[in-house]
């Protein structure tokens, strides 16, 4: 299912922006993840060939950054901030309620593949604490009603 042809045009554009090939590593990995949903071994191989770096280094890069993943996740990725400013305003209760509603723990995906729940560090939106990121969007402040609404909007 990994077909590098679907990336070639975007890849050429990305690589043209950098003074050195290797600097395109992160944007190319983002590209693979955007299109496929995660970074499969073939994706690592493809990036490694593009930027001219051994695949072991690409693997290390993938595992260093929290946003890169090597497995598929749920359609809606709910990342709850559990850093101090959010905790001061109730992040733990929000997390507990999400676990209860979804029936999963942080780090898990619902059996229907709809939701993945994660606990993350400060997303730098502490003015809307407690908050979370759902795919591209920041949402907060959260209470039970806001969580209910957020889940409903996903369905």
């Amino acid at each position: 299912m990994f077909d590098s042809k679907q990336f070639e045009k975007d890849a050429a554009e990305i690589m043209a922006r950098y003074d050195q090939k290797k600097a395109a590593t992160l944007p190319l990995l983002h590209l693979v993840q955007e299109k496929i949903g995660y970074i499969p071994p073939e994706g690592e191989q493809w990036v490694s060939e593009k930027v001219g770096v051994a695949i072991v280094h690409i693997r290390e890069v993938v595992s260093f950054y929290t946003m890169f993943r090597t497995k598929a996740i749920g359609k809606h990725h709910i990342q709850v901030c559990t850093n101090l400013p959010c905790v001061l305003r109730g992040a733990e209760q929000v997390m507990a309620y999400l676990k209860e509603r979804l029936g999963i723990d942080a780090g898990q995906t619902t059996p229907d593949g709809k939701f993945t729940l994660s606990s993350v560090e400060c997303l730098c939106a502490c003015e809307i604490a407690p908050m979370c990121q759902v795919n591209d969007r920041y949402i907060g402040p959260l209470d039970r009603a806001a969580v209910d609404k957020l889940l409903q909007d996903c369905v």
């Binding site: 890069v61 929290t66 946003m67 890169f68 559990t82 101090l84 809307i128």
Partner: protein
């Protein structure tokens, strides 16, 4: 105070982000003046006179940093914008990227001209997807309007590449950011050499924070004296303070750097939430040492906060009221540092994880007599021994929370319970 606002007037107007609105507010006049009527040395002189200090956290004088770029180097010179905002309690750069992207672009252009740079990179934290999109849109506008590209104002060629991070707090540290931008893991590098001598692709590089660069156009427009006068004799201008935690009105507030912590909390923040009593404040992002309620009559400029034994850092002000359990607050901070060490240096690879485990034990009511001293000893061993100051920053909360709120920690250890009735939840 209102007449002295440098950045927030435009931030209040979310519709004012785009090119025409920016120009209507006087935008790009400073860049035009610089490119057509000033030499790089004159610009640097003006920035020096304005007493602009780096607002990413370290407070290094910006003009002085720019002057470190070797003029005779045959290598390309780079400007790298640090938009990897990640310091817990801080959200100012997100507002600037989203609501005043052209101010950043104009500041970048002036900086690029001043240091002889024809290629700039903007490193935006990966989670900032909407800010990234808005900033890229502004870049495209600026290119169309002739402010990016060849012969800008008939004078300067420059290009801008916008780069996204991928989730690693340490990449906010400038040398880690460069390692990451080059395509590797976000590993900090030993300094010296400083980036101004050998930075991106081993070439002379200036790394500046978003807010620092956004201050540059107003300085050129209104004059260095104007900017300098707003602040203290050693730090000009204002800062964007991120107020979070137990205040009535969390949010972003601009104030002259000489504002006191009390004024920020009581006036801008609307006081402590629900009329409760203040207990403690972290004044400069989670890494800064904590202050007690009795210590808030301090000015928020870099030098005053250093003199008070803490730091101005990122200007992220985290407020805690009397209901806050300091053990739990420290537990949350320790979790962060245990998660974010890059693992290159042994004291920092082992230390934060160990600290977190011990505090978990204390918070869970299973603390041992010696635990507090062990915490202080482990933290002490992390200071001043590593490639970057992350390890020191991880030690500061431990030391300051325990020293200033020792009896609360002792109560947890001795009785296994929290006086304030907090339960410990594991994430």
């Amino acid at each position: 105070m209102a007449s002295e606002m440098v950045l927030s007037k435009r931030l209040k107007n979310p519709g004012g982000a785009w090119f025409d609105a920016y120009v209507a507010d006087g935008g790009y006049a400073a860049a035009k003046k610089v490119l057509t009527a000033m030499t790089p040395a004159q610009v640097i002189d003006e920035i020096n006179k304005a007493n602009l200090r780096g607002l990413g956290g370290a407070g290094f004088p910006t003009g002085k940093k720019w002057s470190f770029i070797p003029k005779d180097s045959p290598k390309p010179k780079y400007l790298v914008v640090n938009a990897d905002e990640g310091e817990p309690g801080t959200f100012k750069d997100r507002y600037l990227l989203e609501r005043d992207p052209h101010a950043l672009i104009e500041g970048m252009l002036i900086a690029a001209y001043s240091i002889g740079c024809h290629k700039a990179y903007v490193y935006i934290r990966g989670e900032y997807i909407e800010p990234y999109r808005r900033f890229v849109r502004a870049i495209e506008e600026a290119r169309k309007k002739g402010w990016i590209g060849e012969a800008v104002q008939g004078k300067w060629d420059w290009e801008v590449t916008v780069h996204r991070g991928a989730g690693a707090y340490i990449c906010g540290e400038e040398t880690a950011l460069l390692s990451s931008l080059e395509g590797g893991k976000g590993f900090p590098r030993l300094k010296p050499p400083f980036p101004a001598i050998s930075g991106l692709f081993a070439s002379p590089t200036i790394v500046n924070n978003v807010e620092t660069l956004c201050c540059v156009p107003p300085i050129i427009r209104n004059g260095a004296e104007w900017f300098a006068k707003i602040g203290t004799p050693k730090q000009g201008g204002t800062r964007l303070f991120s107020l979070s935690g137990h205040v009535e009105k969390p949010g972003l507030y601009e104030a002259p750097v000489s504002v006191t912590l009390r004024q920020l909390i009581e006036q801008q923040g609307g006081g402590v939430r629900g009329g409760k009593k203040l207990k403690a404040v972290v004044p400069g992002g989670i890494s800064a040492k904590i202050l007690t309620a009795a210590e808030i009559d301090v000015a928020m400029d870099f030098d005053s906060l250093t003199a008070a034994g803490t730091m101005a850092g990122s200007a992220g002000v985290i407020v805690m009221d009397e209901s806050t359990c300091m053990v739990k607050a420290l537990l949350t901070a320790a979790k962060f540092f245990a998660h974010e060490s890059c693992g290159q240096c042994s004291p920092c690879r082992e230390g934060p994880g160990r600290l977190y485990k011990i505090i978990q034990r204390v918070a869970a009511g299973q603390g041992r007599r010696q635990d507090l001293d062990v915490l202080l000893a482990v933290a002490g061993n992390m200071e001043g021994k590593t490639i970057c100051v992350f390890a020191d920053a991880a030690a500061w909360p431990i030391q300051s929370y325990i020293r200033k709120f020792r009896s609360e920690f002792e109560h947890h250890v001795e009785t296994g319970t929290c006086e304030l009735g907090h339960a410990y939840a594991h994430h």
